[in-house]
Amino acid sequence: MRILVVEDERKTASFVRKALQAEGFATDVCHNGDEALAAASVTPFDAIVLDIMLPGRDGLSVLKLLRARKKMTPVLLLSARGEVNERVEGLNAGADDYLPKPFELSELVARVRALTRRGSENKSTVLSVADLTLDTVTHQAGRGGKKIDLTAREYRLLEFLMRSAGRLCGRMMILEKVWDYDFDPGTNLVDVYVRRLREKIDADFEAKLLHTVRGSGYVLKEQT
């Protein structure tokens, strides 16, 4: 997997690259729009992390040009403005995801991973992690043959966590996918919901599946 990071702020570019490399991505860095356009036209990247504010050609125009040239590489936009309108503008221009600054590194890595997995998503109607199952048609969850009743919101949370099984899910990402919030409400809503969900799926079982990664988010996986 090869990722292009386009970010003019060198320190940011450097830790983003480090984090992506640590996750096993080969990572190239460009510091301005024209360089990025040239690089993306030659090298087939698996995903591009693109800052909007760049010297010279800005991120949105790079994105539009790429899409006009039929380059469909998944793009994650970064922006210091973090405004709903800008997000809509970005997604309309062909971006696949959008992250306002200051972002959480784990959030960024999780999103890049989600982008590169796009298309290879699990299409089956019954999701499972270890002995936990979730039927996406009947919305019925079960573990070890025992039925688990979920509220609508808990269902959406569990479905999201199970579709991203094994991957870290950041708080903002969960708020966005499960609540449709694209602002940080500054509450501990996610943590409280995860705690409730954990009581339902983990409390009665020896092997815990829903894990907290301190300061980063949550991951649903079988402990090895």
Binding site: N85, P102, R195
Partner: protein, 357 residues
């Protein structure tokens, strides 16, 4: 006393005094002339008649003069009252609109001109403050991104001791709080500069309230706080879905944060006089009456004793107020110390027909 009344009084005084001088002068002159030419008895009568004549002609002249004076002061001061009305309408957001001018170069026109120049300077300063806040919050985001990123990178190091890890994680938490404050400031600064376009559409307010109530229950549960939903009428308004959700979550969060342990929160949505009325009432220590008007101010904390223990960015109610105003609504907060604090939001039903429940 208004300038007009004062001027009219002075004018009347002068008028009467001058008429008096004129009358007395004329009377004396006639007296002298007559003494030279005629006998005594006819003089007496003629003088009496002359006095009467002067009085009869003088009185209407005084009345006319007074009326004329009143009209004159009114006419000359009319531009001043117009100016007063125009100045009354000036507030922070319409400094750009200049006062109307007669353009005839008289004293009042000069005053309006100088005033307009002052407004332009004020507008300039206001804009500079707004721009400063906007730039400051943008500029803060880059170093914040770098700091958060570097600490997160450091946290990935497996060789860290638990103590070091805890210390770094605490620092990260504080940085994120700072990031939320900067986010809130950016939002408000952009709203002040008129840079935020709300996406208006038909939204089911009752669905948003129900959704928010579900979140409220979850937030309240760990504190043993009982959440209750009163009437929730089906209401559709023109609004920005995301902003309205942000507003309600904000209020729900406050209702839990500033509550008593094992307290209660009650939410309701009803139609009231052409408005959708959302009420959120919660038990709390209350806000002293003298601090109530200031709770919507940025970074204002009503209860300084709790200021440090309650985690918040201090901008929540300012943001809530902005969202409500952007929907042409009103928000107010009432508090009975030691008992209940109630936030009431009115959002216009615009266009919805007056079916009442």
């Amino acid at each position: 006393m208004t300038i007009r009344a004062r001027l009219t009084f002075w004018y009347a005084g002068i008028l009467i005094a001058s008429l008096l001088v004129m009358g007395v002068g004329t009377y004396r002159e006639i007296h002298e002339q007559m003494m030279r030419h005629a006998n005594h008895s006819t003089i007496e009568r003629a003088l009496g008649e002359t006095g009467e004549m002067i009085f009869q002609a003088g009185l209407p002249a005084v009345v006319l003069g007074l009326l004329g004076g009143w009209w004159l002061t009114r006419r000359s001061l009319l531009p001043v009252s117009k100016l007063t009305d125009a100045i009354k309408k000036i507030h922070e957001h319409n400094l750009r609109e200049p006062l109307p001018r007669a353009n005839n170069g008289d004293e009042l026109d000069q005053l309006a001109k100088v005033f307009n120049e002052m407004l332009a300077r004020l507008d300039d300063s206001f804009n500079r403050i707004r721009e400063f806040t906007l730039h400051a919050s943008h500029e803060l985001k880059t170093p914040l991104t770098v700091l958060c990123g570097e600490i997160e990178t450091a946290l990935r190091d497996d060789s860290l001791s638990p103590v070091e890890r805890g210390r770094l994680a605490d620092r990260l938490e504080e940085l994120r709080r700072l990031a939320r404050i900067v986010d809130g400031l950016t939002l408000l600064a952009r709203a002040d500069a008129g840079q935020i376009q709300l996406q208006f559409e038909d939204v089911r307010l009752d669905e948003i309230v129900r959704d928010d109530f579900a979140d409220l229950q979850i937030l309240a549960e760990p504190h043993g706080i009982k959440a209750e939903l009163g009437s929730c009428e089906a209401i559709t308004i023109r609004g920005d879905q995301h902003r309205l959700r942000q507003l309600l979550l904000n209020l729900a969060d406050n209702a839990v944060k500033y509550n008593h342990p094992r307290g209660g929160v009650k939410m309701s949505l009803v139609r009231n006089n052409g408005f959708a009325e959302i009420k959120i009432a919660n038990n709390s220590d209350g806000i002293p009456a003298d601090k109530l008007p200031r709770v919507f101010d940025r970074f204002f904390r009503g209860d300084t004793a709790h200021g440090n223990t309650i985690d918040g960015c201090g901008l929540g109610l300012s943001i809530a107020q902005w969202i409500v105003k952007a929907h042409q609504g009103t928000i107010r907060i009432e508090s009975e110390p030691g008992k209940l604090t109630t936030v009431t939001v009115h959002l216009p039903l615009n266009g919805e027909t007056g079916e009442r429940a």
